[in-house]
C-alpha cells in the first residue's frame, strides 16, 4: 500500500510534469518487484475472461492469475476496479529502433544495407533503445515488436524486443528470431515522387525473368550455407578433415537452412505468396509470410502448407481497382475462417506502430470476432514467432508484459492506466506527453 501512491503518481499526468525526466525514458529502467492487480477484469486471451480477479507479478513473471488468488505479503497493489488487464500487444512487422526519421535524415536510418545478400545484418545490433518511437509506442499498450531490416533480397535477421531497456541486450526477447527475405516483387514502380516522373512501368515477363534470377541468387547462397554447415559439422566430428574457414555471412544462415528457425518472406501479391511458399518448400525452410495483402486469395494453400501470415496491410488500399472496397479489412476474417494462422501488424517502420489496436479493430468491424481481434495482436503473433511460452497471454510463468486499461483494449477511446514490461512498471510518458506538457499551457 505504501508504494501504491507513488506508482499512481508516476502513472498520472500530474506527475508527468517532470519534463525530460531521464528515468521516464532512458537511463535507469524501473526495478522489478512484486505487484498485484486486484479486482480487475482479466482478459487472459488464452483462456476465459476472469470478471473479477487478481494478477500477481513477481520478478518479471506472472506468478499467479485467477479469481481467487491471494496477494502475497509485501506486494505493491493496484486496485483494478473498473479496469481490464490484457497481455501486452505485439507488432510483428516493424523496424522499431532502426529508423528515427525516414525522410531527409539518412543518418537516422539503419534499415537497409548495401548489396542484396546480407544475412549477417542483425537488427538487434542497431536497435536504438533511446529512440523516441519506443516510449511513444509502448504507452499505447504495445509491449513488444519484431524489428526487422528491410534491404536487398536477404535483408538480415529480425529481433523480437521488449519496448523497454537501456541497451539492446536488455530489450532482446529473441535477438535473432528470423531471417528476413524480400521475395522478388511482381508489382513495381509506385510513386515517382515529387519533382520527378513516374517510374516507368516495366514489362511483366521481364520482371518475372529478373525475379527468377534474383531467386537464383538467394538459392545459391542458401545452398552454400547448407554445405557450409555440413562441412563445419563434419570437421567438428572429424578433425582429420581439412578445416573449413569460418564465414560470417554463411554462418548465421545455418539454423535457417536447416529449418530450425523461421524465415520471414515479405510477399504481398498472390504470385509472390505462392512463389515464397514454393521456394520455402524447395529449400526446406520454415516460412512466415510478412505482408500478405493477397493472402485471402491463397488461403487454402496457406492452410494446406500450414504457413502463417503476418498481415501488415489491413489499412492499405486494395491492390486492384476491382477488388472489393473491404478486401483488406476483411482479409483477417477470411484467413480465420479458412483456418490459416495469422496475426495483425501495422507494418509501420515505428512511429505509427502505436496504432496497432485500430488495425485489429478494423478487422473486427469486418467480420473477425472481437476476441480473435485481440488474439491477432497478442497470442497469435507470439505463436507465429514461437514465443507463446513467454508472451501473448496472461498465464502463470509467462513474462509479465501487461496492459491495464479503462476499457476495451482496441477502442481508441480507452486509456492505458498501467503498463508492465518484463515485470517492470513503466511510466506512461513519452516525447509526446512531454511536449504536450511543455506547450499545453503556453499563454
Amino acid at each position: 500500500m505504501r508504494t501504491l501512491l507513488a506508482l499512481l503518481l508516476l502513472a498520472s499526468p500530474v506527475f508527468a510534469q517532470q519534463i525530460g525526466n531521464p528515468t521516464a525514458q532512458q537511463g535507469v529502467i524501473p526495478p522489478r518487484g512484486t505487484f498485484a492487480i486486484r479486482n480487475a477484469r482479466i482478459v487472459t486471451v488464452s483462456g476465459a475472461d476472469i470478471e473479477n480477479g487478481t494478477v500477481v507479478i513477481r520478478d518479471g513473471k506472472i506468478e499467479a492469475v485467477g479469481a481467487n488468488v491471494n496477494v502475497p505479503a509485501g506486494a505493491q497493489t493496484i486496485d483494478g476496479s473498473g479496469l481490464s488487464v490484457y497481455p501486452g500487444m505485439i507488432d510483428a512487422g516493424t523496424n522499431m529502433g532502426l529508423v528515427e526519421v525516414p525522410q531527409g535524415a539518412n543518418g537516422t536510418v539503419d534499415t537497409s544495407e548495401v548489396g542484396d545478400l546480407n544475412p549477417n545484418a542483425k537488427a538487434i545490433v542497431a536497435v536504438n533503445p533511446h529512440s523516441a518511437h519506443i516510449a511513444v509506442t509502448r504507452v499505447e499498450g504495445i509491449t513488444n515488436t519484431l524489428t526487422a531490416p528491410t534491404g536487398g533480397l536477404i535483408s538480415g535477421q529480425a529481433a523480437l524486443i521488449n519496448l523497454l531497456g537501456t541497451a539492446p541486450k536488455e530489450m532482446a526477447v529473441v535477438p535473432q528470431l528470423a531471417l528476413v527475405i524480400n521475395y522478388p516483387r511482381v508489382a513495381g514502380g509506385g510513386g515517382g515522387g515529387f519533382g520527378g516522373f513516374q517510374q516507368q512501368q516495366t514489362n511483366l515477363s521481364d520482371t518475372l525473368a529478373a525475379n527468377e534470377r534474383q531467386l537464383e541468387q538467394i538459392r545459391r547462397m542458401l545452398r552454400d550455407a547448407e554445405a557450409y554447415g555440413r562441412a563445419q559439422d563434419a570437421y567438428a566430428k572429424d578433425r582429420s578433415l581439412p578445416r573449413p574457414d569460418r564465414n560470417v555471412v554463411l554462418e548465421p544462415l545455418v539454423p535457417y537452412v536447416r529449418g530450425e528457425q523461421p524465415v520471414i518472406f515479405r510477399a504481398d501479391r498472390e504470385a509472390e505468396i505462392r512463389g515464397a511458399i514454393r521456394f520455402a518448400e524447395e529449400m526446406k525452410l520454415k516460412p512466415i509470410i510478412l505482408g500478405g495483402n493477397d493472402a485471402w486469395k491463397v488461403a487454402s494453400l496457406l492452410k494446406e502448407k500450414n504457413v502463417p501470415v503476418i498481415l501488415t496491410g489491413v489499412f492499405s488500399l486494395p491492390l486492384r481497382e476491382d477488388d472489393p472496397y473491404d478486401a483488406l479489412f476483411e482479409n483477417p476474417a477470411k484467413l480465420q475462417a479458412a483456418g490459416v494462422r495469422f496475426c495483425i501488424s501495422t507494418g509501420d517502420p515505428g512511429a505509427e506502430a502505436r496504432n496497432l489496436a485500430q488495425y485489429a479493430g478494423m478487422a473486427a468491424a469486418f467480420g473477425l470476432s472481437k476476441a480473435d481481434a485481440v488474439k491477432a495482436v497478442t497470442l497469435y503473433p507470439a505463436q507465429i514467432m514461437n514465443v507463446a511460452d513467454r508472451l501473448g497471454s496472461i498465464e502463470t510463468g509467462k513474462m509479465a508484459n501487461l496492459v491495464v486499461t479503462d476499457g476495451d483494449l482496441l477502442e481508441i477511446r480507452s486509456r492505458i492506466k498501467y503498463l508492465f514490461i518484463d515485470g517492470r512498471p513503466v511510466v506512461l510518458t513519452s516525447r509526446h506527453t512531454e511536449l504536450n506538457e511543455a506547450f499545453k499551457n503556453r499563454k
Binding site: F197, Q199, Q200
Partner: protein, 562 residues
C-alpha cells in the same frame, strides 16, 4: 513570303487557297491533256449527297467531276472504264493523320530550361517555327505542317491502297501543336497535294517535360493565358493602328498572332481527347473562349452527346479501336472491368453519335496497320452504325467538318475528282478497291510494301551515352549484330560488361536488356529506343531505380546504308 503573311493575317488563309488552286490549275493546264478525261460507265454510284445511282456514269475531266448520273454518256474523248460490278464512292477522307510529315524523332532528354521531350522532328526540322518564336517548342501555334509536307512514301501508298484519297495531316506533338493541312494523297510536289491549309489549329493536353507546363494542370493554365494574351495582342494592334503616334508599339509575336483567328472563331481548334473527362475539359475550354471546337479521338464521346450537340462540336472519331494487345500471363492481374467495358463500348460510339445527331467523321488514329481501318469500320457497323452513316463519315462529313464540302466529299459535278471505286460494297469483307482517282488521275494501286520503311542494319559498334537520373553521364560501348528482327550483342565499359538479352529490332524500335552496375549493385536495365539519322536514342528503365535516357552513335564499322 513570310513577311506577307505576317502583314496580312486576315486574308492569309484565303490567299493560300487561291494561290494553291491557281498553282494546281496552271499545272494541270500545263501538263494534262485530253487523255486525262475518264468515264466510268455502268457503275453503281454512291453520290453521298444524293440518292444512290444504281447504274450510271461518272465523267472526269480536268481534275474535276464533269458529270455523274444515270443518263450521262461517256464523252468521245474519254478513256472509258467499264464499271459493271463496280461501285463509285467519293474518295475517302482520313480526317486525322500525320501523313506526308517527317518521322518523329524519339524524345530527347530535357535540357536546361526545358527543351521539352515532347518536341519532335517537325519543329526541329523546320527552322521557320523555332528561332523567332516567343514560345518554347510545344507552345508554338504558328507551326504549320504545310511547310514540311513531303510527297510519296509507303504510308501514303498504303492509305491509297485502301481507298483513301485525302487526309488531314496535323502536327505530331506539342500543346499548341500548330496548324494542319488537308492534302490529297497524290501529287508530284507538296504544293500539288495541298487542298487547303491551314485547316485548323491543333491542341493536345500533353504536358511538356522538365519545364512549365509540366502537368495537365499547367497545360490548361497555359492554354488560357496564351489565348488571353492573344486577345490583348489583337486589341493592342488595333489601338496602335488607330493611333500610332504617342503609343508604344506592341511587340510582334508570331505565336499570339497565330492564335488570333482561333479566338475570333475563324479557325477551328482540334483538341485531342478520348476519354470522357478529356472531352469534357475540351468542351469547357471551348465554351470559356468561344472556340470552334472539333474533338479528335472521341472514344468516349458518346457519353457527352448532349453537350456535343448543344455546343455544335463535331468529332473526328478514331477507328483505331482499343483492343487488348497483350498475351495472357498467369501472374498478371486481371484487366480492370473499366478497361474491358471501355473496349467493348468503343465499338458502339459511332452508332451512338449518329443516333444522337452528333456530327462526326472517321480517322485512322495512327493505326499501326492501316489495312485494319475498313475491318474496324465493319466492326463499328456491326455495333450499331448504318452503312450509309459509315460512308458519310468517310466522305461528306469530314469534308463539311473541315470546311471543304464544296470541293470534296460527294460525287457531284464540279467537285474535285477524288473517287474510290470498289468491287463489292465498301465495307464488305470481300470487297476490294479497284480504282482510285485523285485530282482526276488514276492512282497505281500496289500491294502495300511489307514492313513499311526500309530498315537499316544496326550491326556495328556504338558509343552509348547513358544518362541515369541524378548520376551524370556514363559512356559505354555497345556491339550489335542484327539479322532481320533478331538482335544480339554485348556491352562493355564503366557500367559493367555482359551480353544483351531479350533483344529485338522491330518496326523501327530497338529493345534489349542488360545487367548494369548501378549504385554498387547489379541491376537489370532495359533499353528502348529508335534509330534516326544514324543515331539511336531512347530510354533506359532500371528495375528499382529512376529511369534514364541514352544516345548512341556509331563508333565503328560505319554503315554504308545511311
Amino acid at each position: 513570303m513570310m513577311g506577307i503573311w505576317v502583314l496580312m493575317p486576315k486574308i492569309r488563309s484565303r490567299l493560300i487557297v487561291a494561290l494553291t488552286l491557281l498553282f494546281l490549275v496552271s499545272n494541270v493546264n500545263a501538263q494534262r491533256s485530253a487523255i486525262d478525261t475518264y468515264a466510268i460507265t455502268n457503275a453503281r454510284i454512291v453520290t453521298v449527297s444524293g440518292p444512290v445511282i444504281e447504274r450510271g456514269t461518272v465523267v472526269i475531266r480536268n481534275g474535276l467531276i464533269a458529270a455523274a448520273g444515270a443518263n450521262v454518256n461517256a464523252p468521245p474523248d474519254a478513256r472509258v472504264i467499264d464499271g459493271t460490278g463496280l461501285t463509285v464512292y467519293p474518295g475517302l477522307i482520313d480526317s486525322y493523320t500525320n501523313l506526308a510529315l517527317p518521322e518523329a524523332s524519339p524524345s530527347p532528354s530535357p535540357g536546361p530550361g526545358g527543351g521539352g521531350a515532347a518536341f519532335f522532328a517537325l519543329t526541329s526540322q523546320r527552322p521557320a517555327a523555332g528561332p523567332n518564336s516567343t514560345q518554347p517548342p510545344g507552345l508554338q501555334p504558328e507551326v504549320r505542317v504545310e511547310e514540311v509536307i513531303r510527297t510519296g512514301g509507303s504510308e501514303i501508298e498504303a492509305s491509297r491502297n485502301i481507298g483513301i484519297t485525302t487526309a488531314l495531316t496535323s502536327p505530331r506533338s506539342g500543346i499548341w501543336m500548330g496548324q494542319s493541312a488537308l492534302i490529297n494523297l497524290a501529287g508530284e510536289t507538296p504544293q500539288q497535294m495541298i487542298v487547303r491549309s491551314p485547316v485548323a489549329m491543333h491542341v493536345s493536353f500533353t504536358p511538356l517535360r522538365g519545364t512549365y507546363p509540366g502537368s495537365v494542370l499547367g497545360v490548361f493554365a497555359t492554354l488560357r493565358q496564351m489565348m488571353l494574351d492573344a486577345q490583348r495582342y489583337r486589341d493592342s494592334l488595333q489601338i496602335y493602328e488607330r493611333s500610332p503616334r504617342g503609343t508604344r508599339r506592341p511587340e510582334t509575336d508570331r505565336s499570339l498572332e497565330a492564335l488570333v483567328p482561333v479566338i475570333d472563331g475563324r479557325m477551328p481548334v482540334v483538341m485531342q481527347a478520348n476519354n470522357e473527362r478529356e472531352i469534357s475539359r475540351a468542351l469547357d475550354l471551348a465554351a470559356e473562349f468561344k472556340l470552334r471546337l472539333i474533338i479528335a479521338g472521341g472514344r468516349e464521346a458518346d457519353r457527352l452527346t448532349d453537350r456535343l450537340v448543344k455546343q455544335n462540336v463535331p468529332v473526328l472519331l478514331s477507328l483505331n479501336l482499343p483492343r487488348r494487345t497483350t498475351a495472357a500471363i498467369p501472374e498478371a492481374d486481371p484487366e480492370p472491368l473499366r478497361v474491358l467495358r471501355d473496349r467493348v463500348e468503343a465499338q458502339q460510339t459511332a452508332g451512338k453519335l449518329a443516333k444522337a445527331g452528333v456530327r462526326f467523321a472517321f480517322q485512322s488514329g495512327s493505326l499501326a496497320n492501316i489495312s485494319e481501318l475498313m475491318v474496324n469500320a465493319g466492326r463499328v457497323i456491326e455495333n450499331g452504325l448504318t452503312v450509309n452513316d459509315a460512308v458519310r463519315a468517310f466522305t461528306l462529313s469530314p469534308a463539311e467538318i473541315l470546311g471543304v464540302q464544296n470541293q470534296l466529299g460527294s460525287v457531284e459535278a464540279g467537285k474535285i475528282a477524288n473517287l474510290t471505286v470498289t468491287r463489292g460494297a465498301l465495307f464488305d469483307r470481300n470487297s476490294r478497291v479497284a480504282h482510285v482517282f485523285i485530282d482526276g488521275r488514276p492512282v497505281d494501286l500496289r500491294p502495300a510494301a511489307g514492313g513499311g520503311a526500309a530498315r537499316s542494319s544496326l550491326s556495328g559498334t556504338w558509343s552509348v551515352n547513358v544518362n541515369l537520373g541524378g548520376q551524370g553521364e556514363r559512356t559505354i560501348t555497345l556491339n550489335l549484330q542484327q539479322e532481320g528482327d533478331r538482335l544480339s550483342g554485348s556491352i562493355s565499359g564503366s557500367l559493367g560488361a555482359g551480353e544483351i538479352s531479350n533483344a529485338s529490332a522491330t518496326s523501327g524500335e530497338v529493345r534489349f536488356t542488360v545487367a548494369l552496375n548501378v549504385e554498387g549493385q547489379t541491376k537489370e536495365a532495359t533499353f528502348t529506343g529508335r534509330l534516326a539519322n544514324n543515331e539511336l536514342r531512347g530510354n533506359v528503365a532500371i528495375v528499382g531505380s529512376a529511369p534514364g535516357t541514352f544516345t548512341a552513335t556509331r563508333s565503328g564499322q560505319p554503315n554504308q546504308e545511311n
